[in-house]
Amino acid sequence: MSVSIAGMSVRYGDDDALIDLSLDVVAGERFAIMGPSGSGKSTLLRAIAGIVPSAGTITIAGEDVSSMPTHQRPIGLMFQDFALFPHMTVAENVAYGLRMQGVSGSERVDAATGLLSLVGLAGYGQRDPSSLSGGEQQRVALARTLAPQPKLLMLDEPLGSLDLALRERLLEHTRSLVEEVGVTTLYVTHDRGEAFAFADRLAVLIDGRVAAVGTPSDVWSGPGSVEVARLIGHPNVMDSFPGFEGPVSIPFDAVRLEPSGDVEGTIIDSIFDDGGYIVALAIEGADAPLHVKVDDPKPKGNRVSISIDEDKAIALEGDQTASAV
């Protein structure tokens, strides 16, 4: 079920949360929306769900849903912190959407039982949601959202409130489950790792606008702007660097330490990382220290020479927010 959003705008009072946003998601695609907090990514999901009013057109599986009230839209939204109903059992939570559709009691019990075993929580039906761990709550919320068989599944920071160790496992689980169900999915996160691992394609949202869109590798190799490059975790995003005009991102593999190098710098820090070391170099004319991967730690204060492969460096658009000020 393809999803198409055209010209979507949302205003909160005098603040623009989303500005003329357009997005196309292919049927069955796992699509991530990535952005810093306040970028409007949760608002986007809420607008698609019809919880906040928006201008523009939302088309799901060829049907214009823009003027439908929330309860008629063929969507499922899993909320941040899950929003499990505290006065209902796990099974009642999962069956809630079917109850609203008028599905009979016995069918609801069967469906809830099936979904709970699908998410690996068979036998949890009579439990109280508050008695579950964070990870279990997440899986109940997922089962509840999937129960009415939405055409578009939306996950709002699904792992945001969980601890690190749990996240990796649940990301894996969520991804394979969504793949198995085959539902078109929007996955909102501020974490680039999650976005890259989950998505077929992703959009980076900054200040209510789409700043980049594409497959993870496309966006990684061509972030376009300084902000996107910083957000997706490029190690050296420079506003100015000697030998380059304008902002540039210098990947680790573009830099080599060699005595004949044409750029000189002073080592100001050296930290252990992933089996090697990363040294930070203060370089004349650069607005920030350059991080370079090396095999051995280097003493602070030493002067070193480096060479930079200009073909591997990525030219960027300037920081729009900074230039606007």
């Binding site: 912190d81 809630y96 959202t145």
Partner: protein, 551 residues
């Protein structure tokens, strides 16, 4: 090791202090509350020193009294249901939206609550009484009692339920909507069940206040409708049937006790885990919401504003016709015309004195009790909590009546004026406790420990740290106590001496006189009383602390 010695001494004195914290309020309540109630019970259930259910049987089989009991019950039920139904939409608007003038409107909702019953009754007399501006006379009908009860208790529902509602995560209802629930379906299946504890506990309060309603029913029911509360007063003061009055009081206490137990149950069962980080509500975003917010805010202003506005306007209509301050100037001269009138100026002076004393007693006892509640073990504090809150559910008339029959031992206090502020303080103590206990409870125990490690004695630690943090809450409690004392009528009706009338007593006496000029003066005096309690509300609104400080 010299420094260790004071520590041992301190623990001992701390223990003495803790005992005193419990003992002072406990002894006060034991003598001025429990002992009179026990005396009433003994009086109602014994004849010549031996237990007898004779009077009880007489009362229960008297068709007139049966009718009164039945009316008391069903009017309270109807008043409660009507107040909750009207209050829920307003609670929703307060909990879920921001709008222009929200803060002011929240303060205004306090007005009916601290408005003395006599003022409320007078306001409705100016609206739908025999001399009312609408020309419709509803006195002696059930409707006027219902309307007055709704007006009076509206704020309890709005404030109590909205405070609870705004802590329920809006995502829950949104989640229901995305799962296919229509707006009302989402409310019914998710929000309403979660609100149930708040609705139940505020309903219990509204029910109690309507069940034991005195001034409103006495003045507006015109004796064709009478509650048990009014009947206790009539039997004791008009017919001098202390045995019947006692029996009625016992019946009422049992009824109140049942409701209080239910109330306590629901108070304790508020187990929904609230989120602390819910974003403050924003403006209404959809057209439908904006219309609803406007409609509901408008109706709130009407419900609260119309009776008050008419009261003030009526006070400016002179008995001879035309507008002017004649009713106010009459306050100074009326008593010179006839010895039957009390001097309103003297009544104002008396009321202010009584209020200051009552307020001091209520703060002393109430804050001590709050401190005891927050420093003693959980097991003691929960039962102590119920004990301290009991006067809230006990009717004012019962308190006044109890004073009258019990407080001749060990000294005869019944002729003493001090009884009036003490009775007022009893009514006010639960409010002081309810405003200060949450504030004290919110203080981290670590602060006290930090002060102790820095060398402060327990008393110094309390004064320099905790008192500073709770003094705003105490001030709010004091303002409530002041306002309650200014307007208290039920208990005062029993124990006021003709030589020292209060404002409500003066209003009551004026309303009992025929003619337009005493009525005009009663209305003017009601406005004066409203302004004084209104000043207390301003204090409450200005200094409200972030923790506690509400009902």
């Amino acid at each position: 090791m010299d420094s260790h010695r004071p520590l041992v001494a301190e623990t001992r004195s701390a223990r003495v202090g803790r005992v005193a914290l419990v003992a002072v309020p406990a002894l006060f309540l034991a003598y001025f509350f429990v002992y009179p109630l026990v005396s009433i019970t003994v009086r109602g259930l014994t004849v010549d020193g031996s237990i007898s259910f004779g009077v009880v049987t007489d009362v229960l089989s008297d068709p007139t009294l049966q009718g009164i009991a039945w009316f008391t019950l069903w009017q309270a039920v109807v008043s409660t249901v009507a107040t909750v139904l009207l209050g829920l939409p307003a609670a929703w608007v307060f909990a879920r939206f921001d709008f222009v003038g929200k803060r002011a409107l929240r303060a205004i909702t306090l007005v009916p609550f601290v408005l003395p019953t006599l003022v409320v009754a007078t306001a409705f007399l100016t609206l739908v009484g025999p001399r009312g501006v609408t020309g419709i006379d509803l006195t002696g009908t059930f409707w006027i009692i219902l309307i007055a009860h709704v007006f009076y208790n509206y704020a309890i529902v709005v404030r109590g339920v909205s405070a609870y509602w705004e802590r329920i995560d809006p995502a829950l209802e949104a989640a229901a909507r995305t799962l296919g629930a229509k707006p009302f379906q989402a409310f019914r299946t998710v929000t309403l069940p979660l609100l149930r504890p708040a609705i139940a506990s505020t309903s219990a309060l509204v029910f109690l206040f309507s069940f034991t309603s005195f001034g409103v029913v006495l003045l507006l029911g015109d004796l064709s409708y009478t509650t048990i509360e009014v009947e206790i007063w009539r039997q004791a003061t008009a017919f001098l049937r202390l045995d019947v009055a006692s029996t009625l009081a016992v019946i009422q206490i049992v009824g109140v006790g049942v409701v209080l137990i239910v109330y306590g149950r629901f108070q304790r069962r508020t187990t929904v885990t609230f989120r602390q980080d819910i974003a403050p509500p924003g403006r209404a975003t959809t057209k439908r919401d904006r219309t609803l917010v406007r409609l509901i805010v408008g109706s709130m202003i009407a419900i609260i504003g119309v009776p008050i506005g008419i009261l003030v306007a009526s006070s400016l209509i002179e008995p001879a016709g035309g507008f002017g301050f004649g009713n106010y100037t009459a306050l100074q001269t009326l008593h010179e015309q006839s010895a039957a009138f009390v001097d309103p100026i003297e009544a104002i002076r008396n009321s202010l004195w009584f209020a200051v004393i009552a307020c001091s007693i209520a703060v002393l006892i109430g804050v001590t009790a709050s401190a005891a509640l927050s420093y003693t073990s959980r097991r003691i504090s929960t039962s102590f909590d119920v004990f301290v809150m009991l006067p809230l559910g006990t009717s004012a008339v019962t308190i006044g009546f109890g004073f009258l029959i019990a407080l001749d031992w060990p000294f005869d206090l019944r002729a003493s004026l001090i009884l009036i502020p003490i009775a007022h303080a009893l009514v006010a103590i639960p409010f002081v406790v309810r405003t200060t206990t949450p504030a004290l409870g919110a203080i981290q125990g670590q602060l006290r420990q930090a002060a102790a490690t820095l060398g402060a004695t327990p008393w110094r630690a309390w004064w320099t740290v905790e008192f500073r943090l709770v003094r705003r809450a105490i001030l709010v409690g004091a303002a409530f106590a002041f306002a309650i004392s200014m307007g208290e009528f039920g208990a005062t009706a029993f124990i006021a001496r003709p030589s020292a009338p209060t404002i409500p007593i003066a209003i009551f006496k004026l309303l009992g006189r025929p003619g337009g000029s005493p009525f005009g003066a009663a209305v003017a005096l009601s406005v004066v009383l409203m302004m004084i309690t209104g000043a207390a509300i301003l204090v409450i609104d200005r200094v409200r602390p972030s923790q506690g400080g509400d009902l």
